[in-house]
């Protein structure tokens, strides 16, 4: 929440969610939540390229950076995370966060990519090259399963503009809930409750159902009114 306040983002639920979830992760050991969460990110074919990374140092978080790489359409991304793994691999991970909405822009017949993930990838790839890091774009959504068509549309937009295939992974808020649902840590417990409240959990059973109330109320039509109705065209027809 602190990050959302600092960036004047409190009007957007998506941004509050980003701030609350990644804000909590920022203050914890990366191996506690961030790394196991990122490990669940998958490509449309189901493979999980970040499944076995271990970090050497505290990752660096940059919330809502503007990306203005030369030759690319400018864009704001939700989060950049710089991670160095214990085997010396350096990652630049861009997280595009969604809650209830889909991509904010789609492909257009223009000189540059306009699909939201495609134009973010263009900026990310250039930035990562300058920093000698491996670019990874994570599409974090509320979905239960991988939005393959959305990712394929971004790849097609990139291909049409003569870019190589992007490293776009999908991750769900529901993965985070599943990861922290039984956490004893108070902040993580609260975060799990927030995700549950926002309907970003997976099925974990039915709540206890109360005995249904017997409703005594009945709507009845008075005898006068019934007599009136019988004069009406509908009732005449029925008769």
């Amino acid at each position: 929440m602190l990050m959302a306040l600092l960036k004047g983002k409190l009007s957007q639920k998506e941004d509050i969610l980003t701030s609350s979830a990644f804000g909590v992760m920022k203050y914890l050991e990366p191996e506690r939540v961030l790394i196991p969460f990122l490990a669940k990110a998958s490509l449309p074919d189901g493979s999980k390229p970040l499944a076995s990374i271990h970090v050497a140092a505290q990752p660096a978080y940059e919330f809502w950076p503007w990306l203005t790489e030369p030759g690319c359409n400018n864009c704001e991304s939700d989060l950049l995370i710089r991670i160095t793994s214990s085997d010396e691999r350096k990652f630049l991970i861009l997280v595009e966060v969604k809650y209830l909405s889909g991509k904010s822009s789609k492909a257009k017949d223009e000189k540059r990519s306009n699909d939201q993930l495609a134009l973010q990838w263009n900026n990310l790839e250039s930035l990562a090259q300058n920093e000698s890091r491996e670019p990874v774009l994570i599409y974090l959504t509320a979905a239960f399963c991988c939005p393959v068509a959305e990712i394929e549309a971004s790849q097609e937009d990139l291909a049409e503009h003569k870019h190589k295939e992007a490293n776009i992974l999908w991750l769900s808020w529901r993965h985070l809930w599943a990861l922290i649902r039984n956490e004893k840590h108070e902040m993580l417990g609260d975060l799990a409750s927030v995700l549950d409240h926002l309907n970003l959990a997976i099925f974990s059973g039915f709540s206890e159902k109360k005995t249904p109330a017997r409703i005594q109320w009945k709507f009845s039509v008075s005898s006068d009114r019934r007599a009136d109705q019988l004069q009406g065209p509908l009732d005449r027809r029925l008769r």
Binding site: P44, D45, G46, F144, C145, C146, V148, S172, R174, A178, N199, A201, I202, F203, S204, G205, F206, S207, K209, K210, P212, A213, R214, I215, Q216, W217
Partner: protein, 196 residues
Amino acid sequence: MSEDGKNIVAMLKELRTLCEEIHRLLGTADGQIQELDKGWKPIPANVFSGLSYMLSPRQSRRQSPRHWIPQDFSRFYENDNLGHIRAFVSVILDDWEKESVLGEPLLTAGWFDCDPGNTIELRKIYSYARWHLKMPGRRDDGQLVSADSKAWPKEPLRFLHVSTLGVPLMSVRDDKELKSKIINPLIQGIKEAQGR
């Protein structure tokens, strides 16, 4: 405030909570099916079909107040590698026509094996999600039951074979039980049937 008034509010809240839980269950089923076989995709046209079914202006029968509350919620799936198969997972809560058919809500799943040139049209398949209730020798203990379309000689059916399984909804208490009781037997059953 009257007791009746409070009870109505409480009853609707319970109903809304139940809908949220069913949404999670069916969504979790989507994820589990894809985990087991990436080829399966939910058919977008009938995402949580109950309400769209009820509100469709063309379905005048559905405008009867007895039909305002959906009787089932379902998901259908297709697989590019198995174009003639339509699989489903459905929660059956009630039966508008015959109350005796259902003693308690069921979680059911199954698949229709169609003539490859005549797969079931989307608009036709909503009621097919309740097929478990029609199965000869139906059992609600999680065992797969299969039947040939000849079992329903009077109905113009668009499939050759059907297999379903069902368990009491309340016996599925979390994602692990959903997987072991419904999703694993469904995907395994389809694989075995294709291997025969």
